[in-house]
Symmetry: C2
Subunit: 257 residues, 2 copies
């Protein structure tokens, strides 16, 4: 049997599960909140055009107002100044949108410390058990933060010192960008960087290093607990927005049972 | 080798090609134009939030204003009054978003007659050569209309009697919805119905019959000429818009060489 026939047969028969890693999009979808003087994104919103009424008797439809970086979304290289000469979201090669995934689970640590940072040594510990990070695949960081995604306040977890959410250290971000074989980093939080990363050196190291290295970001993922540490395939195809810095994206994972 | 390993190996090695079926999204993306008194969708637009400047020194990002039914997009059952008790775009089961495709090429006929309609007999002729339409797969109608997609006027092709673009007859739409095993219909035009379908009985039969039968629509596809008549896998994962009637979607096809 051909690979594609086997894939379809597995999906329809249930031996290949399709796991939805995407948060639902609505006005309640949490969004990033930057302090002044920085400009912020709008929340997701629908504007009704017609609903089986005089404006359209047989049809219901809406306009959409959203940010490129709202909800589960894809960060393209040009999102960051370090990647400004890189690809916009429409230029990412299609074959890079279907890739393997390594899932590192630090939910226990993040539950004890919301400022938990993934270090190179944690990745090395994971590799000692599961093998090297995948060439051209995603590193997906499971922190358990998706359980907070229904509540903007709990999700951003900010106090007078700013937001407190788990992420990746400066050294690990640099290593992932420059030395590891991954194509990008996927997280459960509102952005790929830790809540406290505004005060790191450099600030926002995941954005700075990974996007500057022609790598990508995926945010606000969920259901990572349904993926094995290795072996899942992630499909993360952003909208081909010409000149876009990112895009809301439906992220699906394939898991073979 | 597992199916997923073989899939990844094929994609990275090039024996499985990833074909992008999606039109680029920009202010130039053609949109549907309904006559008064019906309300219309807005065009696609980006609104800059910051671009490596005072509003965000290290980052560039935009807000997005668009219709659910703008550019390459997915029609969910609730888009039409016949499917109003059906799924919204966030409720479509994820495993239905990865499906096989049958491609019927009528580009020669549509080039001679912009009002060309696919009839059941054309599908039967195709089936006589290629076998039955796929269970749970897409019927993709290749009309060559994607060559006009850079020009709103040529794409809508309207005159004093309304738009003239190819599509599907009333009888064929009813048969596809009620008797065929397909999951939905994908087209290269601005909507799944022919340009003249406003005056059919019932009006807009593809929308009316298919969405009323818990099936889907895909529009404004391109690169269908790069797909074989059978054997391609289509990945068409809409954004999970809560209550959404449709969604812009990045559609990818896998083709085994
Ligand atoms: Mn982002
Ligand atoms: Mn539509």
């Amino acid at each position: 049997m051909s690979i594609l026939k086997a894939l379809l047969s597995g999906v329809s028969g249930g031996s290949i599960e399709v796991v939805d890693l995407t948060a639902p999009l609505s006005a309640e979808t949490p969004i990033l909140q930057l302090p002044p003087p920085f400009a912020n994104t709008i929340p997701f919103g629908l504007e009704e055009i017609s609903r089986y009424d005089d404006r359209g008797p047989a049809w219901y439809w809406n306009d959409i107002h959203t940010g490129e970086h709202t909800g589960t979304h894809f960060d393209a290289p040009i999102h960051w100044v370090t990647g400004r000469d890189g690809d916009d979201v429409s230029q990412v090669p299609p074959r890079r949108l279907i890739a393997s995934a390594a899932v590192i689970d630090v939910a226990d640590r993040a539950a004890k410390d919301p400022d938990f940072l993934l270090e190179i040594e944690h990745i090395r510990e994971w590799e000692a058990v599961h093998g090297p990070l995948p060439e051209g695949g995603w590193l997906l960081l499971r922190t358990g933060w998706d359980t907070r995604s229904g509540d903007q306040e709990a999700f951003l977890n900010a106090n007078e010192t700013g937001p407190h959410t788990p992420g990746v250290s400066v050294a690990a971000a640099k290593w992932l960008a420059e030395e590891s074989p991954v194509i990008g980093l996927g997280v459960e939080t509102v952005g790929t960087d830790a809540g406290a990363a505004h005060s790191f050196d450099p600030p926002f190291p995941c954005h700075s290093y990974l996007l500057g290295a022609d790598k990508y970001g995926l945010t606000q993922l969920r259901n990572l607990d349904r993926l094995p540490p290795t072996g899942a395939v992630v499909i993360a195809p952003p909208l081909p927005i010409v000149g876009g810095s990112g895009s809301p994206v439906r992220v699906l994972a394939l898991v073979e049972k």
